[in-house]
Structures are given as C-alpha cells and as structure tokens.
C-alpha cells in the first residue's frame, strides 16, 4: 500500500477512535486543555497504528497480553456495577498513563539490551525534589525543567558507567536504586516527612508575599498577586499533566494522553527511524552493530538518559497526582512493575524485541488488576501475591502461545 495513503488512513482512524469515545461521553472542548488532549491522543493513536507492523510475529507477541487484558476487563465488568462508571474509568486510565510513561523508557532500554532498576527510586526522588523546589519558591515550570534535567544527567551517568567502565547495567542501577531513595529522604529534611501540594503552594505564597515592597499594605497586595500567580501556575500544571482540576477532581485522564504521546514518539523512533534500527541491532548483537560502523556507546548512553528522564517526569506527575508523597515509599517497586509490564507487552529481556503498541497494552494490566482487587474487596494483604500470580499467569500464557505458534 502507498505509504502516504496508509498514513492518512491511520490518522483518520486515530481521530475516529478518539471521537467515538469523546462525543458519546460528552467531554467538552474547553478550556483549551481539552482540544489539545483531543488532538494529541488522536495523532498519537494514529501514529501508533501507522508505525505498527502487522506481521505474524508482532501479532503473536501481542496475543498473550490482549487475552489477559480482555479477561481482566470482563472480570472488572462483573465485579461491580460502577466498574465502567466515568470516574473509575478515568482513574484507571490515569494510573495506566503514569505507569506507561515509565514503561516507555524502560522498554527502550530493555530493547537495547539494558536494564534500569533505579527507576522507582528516581521517581521518588523526582517527586520529592519537585515538591521541595516548589516550597522553596521556584516557579513550577522551572522546577519541572530542573527535575527533568537532573533525570537526564542521572541517565547519562548510568550510561557512561555502563559503556565506558564496562560495568553491568544491573549493578550500576541497583546502586542507583539505593542512592536515589536515600537522597529522597535527605532532600526532604525530616527524613520520613512528606511533601504535599498544599504546603508547596502555601510556602510559595508566603515567600512571594514577604518579597513585597517597603510598606505593609503594598507588600501585602504585591505578595498576594504574586502568590496567586504561583499557585495558579502550579494548579495549571497539575491540570495539564494529570487532569485534576482546581477541586482535585479527576476530570480527564491526561496522564494517559501524555503517555500515548510519548509512546507514539517512541514508536516513530523504534519502527521508522535509523535510531530504532540501531537500538534493535544493539539489543540483539552489539558486537555486530559495532562492526557495522555504528557508534554503539552513544546510542546506549542516550537510551539510559531517556529512561531516567521519563522516570523523573513520572515523579513530577506522581507528586501532582497524589497531592502528597513520602520520600520513603514514593515510586517504590515501580521499576519492577515497569519491567513486568513491558515483558507482558512482548519486550524480550534478552533485548532486541518489542513494539511500542505492546508496551502501551502491557502497562495497562497492572492498573486494571489493582482496580479489580479493589472492587472485589480483596483483603489488602492478598494484593501483592495476587498481583504476582496474575502477572506470572500472563507471562506463562504469553510464552505458551508463542511456543505453540512457533512450534508449528
């Protein structure tokens, strides 16, 4: 088929899918965030479809996770009559989005044959740091940028340690896991204290207020308006990133849209660009890739950097979404959830295999499982082991399907 025609059709399909959800659900087109989300999700879905290669091999890889997800969603429908209610769907999709952002980075890294165990700690550190920077009076966008840059630097350091000193990624990021968790507690002075959106807003307000002029009245007035602008831009950012409005109600799964956008970019890189080719080649056989004249280490470093950058972004999202985070457990075990999710989505831990669509689907499993547990009123002490078993079931089913297809 003609590439341009295919592109057009996929984009149309993207808009059709999004409209088919949007219009019956009566989602508005203002304020400005809504049309942006609308367009972004439509384009992202279109790109994901366009870049996905409909080969037998790829479809087999997705069968397992698709079966598992359908089963879980049907189960969810039976568990509670409100299961597909609006607020619940938004919550599940938002959780899906948050985990998905991490999964996109983790998947790129695993495809190139790496692994990152420090993701969860980095999420925690980023969440706490963002809060602390805000409390210190830094404007939200600048704080977001700072935290993102920090993530990027951390990833570059991981990458350099792995490629230049030839340390094992497992080891480097395992150490990172301890370091960033500890740093999160140090940054948050109390050690076990917490950082919350309200305190951040209050602190920022106070700081802005005291920075006013000489006489009391004009200071108060100047301070008040400065404080308002800080607090507004914070809440604005929260709405953009998480879909929570001023009353802290989730009105839209913005995290899902953000994740779809990132996944679409990753899809273009993985399946359509020279970079993706190199990443797959490195994952399968770094040696042969080097012999082909590719600068292997630069690619490895950049993928580590992308992974950590996305983890930092997820940290900020977690802080804004949750309202308050504790340095001791914010983002804990996220790296393991992410690895499980991408493996369920058809990314091989041996490297060199996986698709962007698979990652999106794989990331959805865990949030759905958690909701299902909630609705069926599973005792909370059962949750971890049941999650473990369901994920194991998923990987086993996946492996069996792959084998039966491959064996014939």
């Amino acid at each position: 088929m003609n590439e341009k025609l295919k592109f057009g059709l996929c984009m149309l399909a993207g808009f059709a899918v999004v409209s088919a959800v949007w219009i019956p659900a009566g989602i508005p087109f203002q304020p400005i965030q809504f049309p942006v989300w609308y367009a972004l999700s439509a384009i992202a879905i279109g790109l994901l479809a366009y870049t996905f290669e409909f080969s037998v091999r790829n479809l087999i890889r997705l069968t397992g996770v698709a079966v598992l997800l359908s089963g879980l969603i049907v189960g969810l429908g039976f568990s509670n009559e409100n299961a597909f209610g609006r607020s619940n769907v938004i919550t599940v999709l938002n959780r899906h989005g948050e985990l998905g952002v991490i999964c996109v980075g983790a998947a790129l890294l695993i495809i190139t044959g790496g692994i990152d165990l420090s993701v969860g700690s980095l999420v925690g550190l980023a969440a706490v740091s963002f809060g602390v920077l805000m409390e210190g009076g830094m404007p939200p966008l600048i704080a977001l940028f700072t935290v993102g840059m920090f993530g990027l630097v951390v990833g570059v350091v991981h990458g350099l340690l792995v490629t230049q000193l030839r340390l094992q990624p497992f080891l480097v990021t395992l150490c990172g896991m301890f370091v960033y968790r500890g740093l999160a507690r140090t940054v948050c002075k109390g050690g076990t204290g917490r950082v919350a959106v309200e305190t951040a807003v209050d602190a920022a307000t106070k700081k802005a207020a005291t920075a006013g002029g000489a006489d009391l009245e004009s200071a108060a007035a100047a301070g008040k308006s400065a404080a308002e602008s800080v607090s507004n831009s914070m809440l604005d950012l929260r709405f953009w990133l998480t879909g929570k409005d001023l009353t802290e109600r989730e009105v839209f799964p913005a995290q899902l849209v953000l994740m779809l956008g990132l996944a679409a970019v990753a899809a273009v890189f993985l399946h359509r660009s020279a970079f993706g080719r190199y990443w797959y080649a490195i994952g399968y056989n770094a040696q042969a890739t080097k012999y082909a004249g590719v600068n292997v280490w630069r690619h490895q470093v950049s993928v580590f950097a992308i992974c950590s950058l996305l983890a930092a972004l997820a940290g900020v999202m977690l802080f804004l979404y949750a309202g308050s985070v504790k340095p001791t457990d914010a983002g804990q075990e996220y790296e393991l959830y992410a690895i499980t999710a991408v493996v369920l989505g058809g990314v091989s831990l041996r490297g060199g295999e996986g698709t962007a669509v698979g990652v999106v689907l794989g990331a959805m499993v865990l949030p759905v499982v958690r909701t299902l547990m909630n609705f069926t009123q599973t005792p909370s002490d059962w949750v971890p082991w049941m999650i473990g078993l369901i994920l194991l079931l998923g990987t086993v089913v996946d492996e069996l399907i792959r084998r039966s297809k491959a064996g014939r």
Binding site: S273, A274, Y278, Q287, A288, G293
Partner: protein, 501 residues
Amino acid sequence: MSSPLIEAVGIRKQFPGVLALDNVSCRLNRGEVLAVVGENGAGKSTLMKVIAGVYQPDGGEVRLNGVPVRFPTPLAAMKAGVSLIHQELNLAENLSVLDNLFLGREPTVGGPLKLLDRGSCIALGGKLLERVGLPADYLFRTVNELPPGQKQLVEIARALGLDAKLLIMDEPTSSLTQKETDRLYEVIDALKAAGVSVMYISHRLAEIKRCCDRAVVLRDGKNAGELSKADINHDNLVRLMVGRDLKSFFPRTHRADGGEVVLSIRDLTYRGGPPHPVSLDLRAGEVLGMAGLVGAGRTELSEAVFGLRPITGGSVTLNGVPLSIRRPSHAVRAGVLLLPEDRRLNGLVLEQSVGFNLSLPNLSRLTTGSVVRKQDEAVLHADSIRSLRIKTPTAAQAVGLLSGGNQQKVVFGKWLARGPKVLILDEPTRGVDVGAKTEIYTLMDELAGRGVAVWMITSDMEELLGVSDRVVVMHEGRLAGELPRNRLNEEAVMRLATGAH
C-alpha cells in the same frame, strides 16, 4: 559379512516448509571413516542429528548392528555409543577438563552423599586424554583457556569415556590451525585402528582425501552419489555436490596489474599487538592474500586498521590522506570495510531479517531526518539480493536461517552498497559451500576490477594460491615475506609462515 555398525535407511525429515531429508540412506562399518559431503542446506547436518537422536525421523529407520533403534534424546544415543561432536562445542567453559569429561556421570562414593570419587576420575580421565594425545596434566586446565583444537579433543575424549562406537564430527576443522588439524587426523587414525567409526562432515576436499575411506554426497536432501577412496577428487566431489561442472573455480578475468597504492600502513603498532611495527601497502584493483598460522597476528592487524584496537604508533593513510581511526565508524566512513572472521558473532544480527542487516550500515543514506525511507530501502534490498544472488525467500527472512554461503553474501551486501575503497576479508569462505565459494571468488574478482583494494586473510591454502595477486605472509606478528604471483607456491608460503628460512 556381519551387519554394518550403523545403517540409515530411507530417512525422511520434514521441517516447516522444507523437506530436509528425502529417502536418504547410508551405512558405516566398524572402524570406517565416512565423509558426508554436500553444499550447505544439502541435509548433512540434519542426517547427523537424526542418527544422533537430536531429531526424530519422519520416515525410515536407523539400525545399530542391524537392530532398528530409536534414540529419543542425544543422551540415549550417547549411551548406545553414538556421540555427536558439535560444530559449536558443547563444553562447560568455566569448568576444568576433568569436570567436563565426567559431567553428568561423575563416579561417586559414599552412597547417598554422592561424594566425587576424584581418584578414579583422575585415573580414568588421564587415560582418556592419552587416547586423544593430550598430556594428563590438562585435566586441571579450565576449558576456556584451551585453544579450539584442544577443546575439540576434550570433547572427543568425553565421547570415548562413554564408550563411543561412532563419533559424528560436524566440520571438526573449521576453527583449527594446520597443526591442530594434523593432530586430529592422527587421533582419527588411532580411533579407526581401535575399531571406532567416524562420520565426518567437511567442506575441505584435502581433508576428505586424507582421512576418509568413503564419501557419501548429499544434494538437496537426497543421496547424490557415493565415492570410494580412489575416486575422491576435487572434480568428482564438486560434480556430485553441485550437480554440474564448475568451469573456473578461481576466476581472474577482471584483474589489472600495478594500481595506485590505496591504503598504506606505516610502522603500525597497536594495543595487544606485537612489539615490532608493521608496514604494508594495498594497491587498487589487487587481491592481496595474507597467509600465516593462526595466532600470527593477521586478524589483530586488520582489527587495528578497522578501529577495533587502539593504535599506539605509526600511521594509516588512504589515497595519501592520513586517517585517524579510533572506532569502526571512522573506518567505515573512510571506506575501509571489514568482513569479520566470525560472521555469526560480528558480521550479522542473526535473529533479524536479511533486509535489516543489509540496511544497517547504510541507514545514513536511506533516511530523511532519521526517518527511514521504506521504498528506497526496499530497492536496496532487492538490488543486493539480485546482484549477489542471495538465496532467500524474501528480504524479511531471518538471516540466521540462511546457509553459510548466503549469510556471507549478506555481509558482502552490507558493505558493497557503501562503495568500498578497501575491503578486508577475514576468512571469507569459512563454512561456505563449494558453489557459493565460486560466487564469492567471482565477486572478489569483480570488485578488484572496479579498483577496490581487496585484502584477504585466509588459512585455506587452495584459496590463497588461487585468488591472490600477491601474498604477504605473517609470522609471530611481523611480515615474514612477500610473494608475487609468479613465485607463489605452497612450500614457499609454509616456509615463511613457520619462520623457517
């Protein structure tokens, strides 16, 4: 006459989409060495694996001493005395030779405690090593310290420990030096004298002549014929293998003399290399053969020029311009390209498709803003597959599923699209069947005709003498000498290679 030791009758083996073996029969007497010959994909390895219990036949039967047998696993075959020595050796690299000899069947004492009976292990192991001509103190060496030839002898010793009656060797000499190969022949002779039979897969005609009593030729999964020892010669084998006569095995129709110097290596030293510097010139339009024993430093020199080993002194100039090569990407950009010795490890991404591999070094020319132009890519794939006559159903086929010769053509294809100036070929026809060898020689001839400087490192004497315009011989890291085509002969090369003059 008693029944033969092993007999395969009417073996049929079907793989998805391929009938690998179609009514193939062969038999083997006690103490006989049988060569199984054929192009890659002819079904030699499949036949071996059926006999050794790796695969189950879909039709026909295997008879041991006249009795039909069915080995469900390779282990069952080994216990019955049929051992397969793999192309890729199956030794636990991190364990000692002793541990490997008895792996899985360690003699134990102390009943349920299963304490290793080291005394009897050592005594028995020493005897086994003696039979393959290795000294007893090798028992305590770690396997990964050993060169490939000795690993192979260890594997043979392990099979002998299982009281093997039939050893199946799949291209046993493909990674051995001449000395190691000679040693292997002696071991085979000794085994033969002791009544052990050997099935021997090889591409190398000299070897087959040297040590086999009979040759069975397979073509496209069928019996193509059988040759007795007296009839084993180059022409007969090739005729049966290919099914036609090959006119010129080493074509030299495009060669011209005395091109300009393209690549000039001056006083080069590199990390991990010999202490003395090396100088070498490559001319446009010539095939420079480089001979030497394994370990003479030929591969290492080429790796230094390709940027895989840090250069510590001297210079490399291309068409008079000094090159600064610190990474393979620098060499590739300059047009100095390498076909590595181990194509499965370094030359190809085996699990990926033919097209993926062909594109890999050429992506910079196939992208707009780093997005790959699919049409242009498809054109490149189609062109390469057609012009190199790569036998593959589509460009989407995983390259690991192709035969050795076709894999090597893919590696050529990767580089040809870049327009090489210097092409370094390290053992270009290793593991490649006869038909594809000629095609590769033709290709080298054509490239030389186009003015490419071809630098061929080879351990195959026939190839060296047949293809090269000029030969340099390395001995212990230095250039021991140079031989122009008119003074080229085997003795002269070996004299230089062994440092005797």
